[in-house]
């Protein structure tokens, strides 16, 4: 009869320890926010291409294909960091990569692609950031995976690495293709 009076505080204390272990975990990235757009249709856009202003880059053209959408900018250090990885991924020729040059200057972005190499099938020039808002972008780089129905399957916030690509992207791409449809 008496026992619960002693057990209850101990249980409550253990519960607090578990809570703090999660809450105070130094590895927890406070800037990571899950996207509410996962599973939703990817926002459509049509922007002028960074390299060729007369060409229109649109994700509507990729309907029916699995593709990757990568948000970057020349002011973004982490984007420079992931660029080699994006080049390696594009050489694998698994899926097309569509780019979005976010809040950037066209001449700088052109220089970037010419000097470092261009992994993108096309890069939309979003200098007003309006397309980025529709995608819920809040920091570059961000990388999205879109399935054949045009839905967002996955979002990676942080520089792309081969580890992330192999573990998070490739299995989802394979599953999306197996899914047929």
């Amino acid at each position: 009869m008496w026992k619960w009076k002693f057990v209850l505080p101990i249980v409550a204390f253990l519960a607090l320890i578990v809570l703090f272990a999660f809450g105070l975990n130094p590895k927890r990235d406070l800037h990571y926010l899950p996207s509410p757009l996962i599973g939703k249709p990817a926002p459509q856009f049509a922007l002028s291409d960074v390299l060729d202003p007369n060409r229109i880059v649109s994700n509507g053209a990729l309907k029916g294909h699995v593709y990757v959408f990568n948000v970057w900018a020349t002011w973004c250090g982490a984007c420079r960091e992931e660029h080699e990885t994006l080049l390696a991924i594009s050489r694998q020729n698994v899926v097309p990569i569509l780019g979005l040059d976010w809040n950037d200057q066209r001449d700088r972005a052109q220089q970037w692609l010419q000097q470092l190499g261009n992994p993108y099938q096309g890069v939309g020039f979003d200098d007003k950031g309006r397309v980025a808002i529709n995608w819920g972008v809040y920091g570059a780089p961000e990388t999205y995976l879109i399935d054949r129905q045009g839905r967002i399957l996955y979002k990676h916030i942080a520089p792309m690495t081969m580890n992330v690509w192999n573990k998070q992207f490739l299995p989802r791409i394979a599953a999306a293709r197996r899914g047929g449809a």
């Binding site: 926010l33 509410p36 757009l37 809040n103 950031g129 309006r130 980025a132 808002i133 809040y138 920091g139």
Partner: protein, 151 residues
């Protein structure tokens, strides 16, 4: 001499640029200070931007933040107000893109019920504990009265 001409040119260019800005701004329902011409809209604008969190700085509202994304989101809010969108529609727009985190005042739903309900639950638990403690104590004999008695 040439310096005078240069200054005059610069002055004229500045006037033209200012003029263009004024035309562009007024055509968008904004005055030359970037304020909405309609005071009711401006008041709603100021309220809404105080309710939205800047995704970059995370502890600032988009009204307070200097981040570029905050400026763009403020502009988005302005454009939606001019387009006649309701406050609720603007919050829905932001929430659909950035999640509940963007709202300083998260809505009550299945996922946030714990946050909203926790203060009341704790108050209830505390009340029960105090009630029980007081009831037990009130049955105890009062020590000082007993001590005071015989003397």
């Amino acid at each position: 001499m040439s310096r005078g001409v240069g200054a005059e040119l610069a002055r004229r260019a500045a006037a033209v640029i200012a003029g263009v800005f004024l035309i562009v701004a007024s055509s968008q329902g904004l005055d030359d200070h970037g304020q909405l011409e309609n005071p009711a809209l401006q008041a709603r604008y100021e309220h809404i931007t105080q309710q939205l969190r800047c995704l970059v700085c995370q502890n600032e509202t988009i009204a307070d933040s200097d981040a570029e994304l905050a400026a763009e989101l403020r502009d988005e809010v302005r454009q939606m107000l001019i387009a006649g969108k309701s406050d609720a529609a603007i919050y829905r727009f932001m929430r659909a893109r950035y999640g509940e985190f963007v709202l300083y005042d998260p809505p009550l739903d299945a996922r946030t019920i714990f946050i909203w309900g926790a203060p009341f639950a704790l108050l209830l638990i505390g009340g029960i504990v105090i009630y029980r403690v007081l009831r037990v104590r009130s049955r105890m004999p009062l020590d000082d009265e007993q001590e005071a008695g015989p003397k």
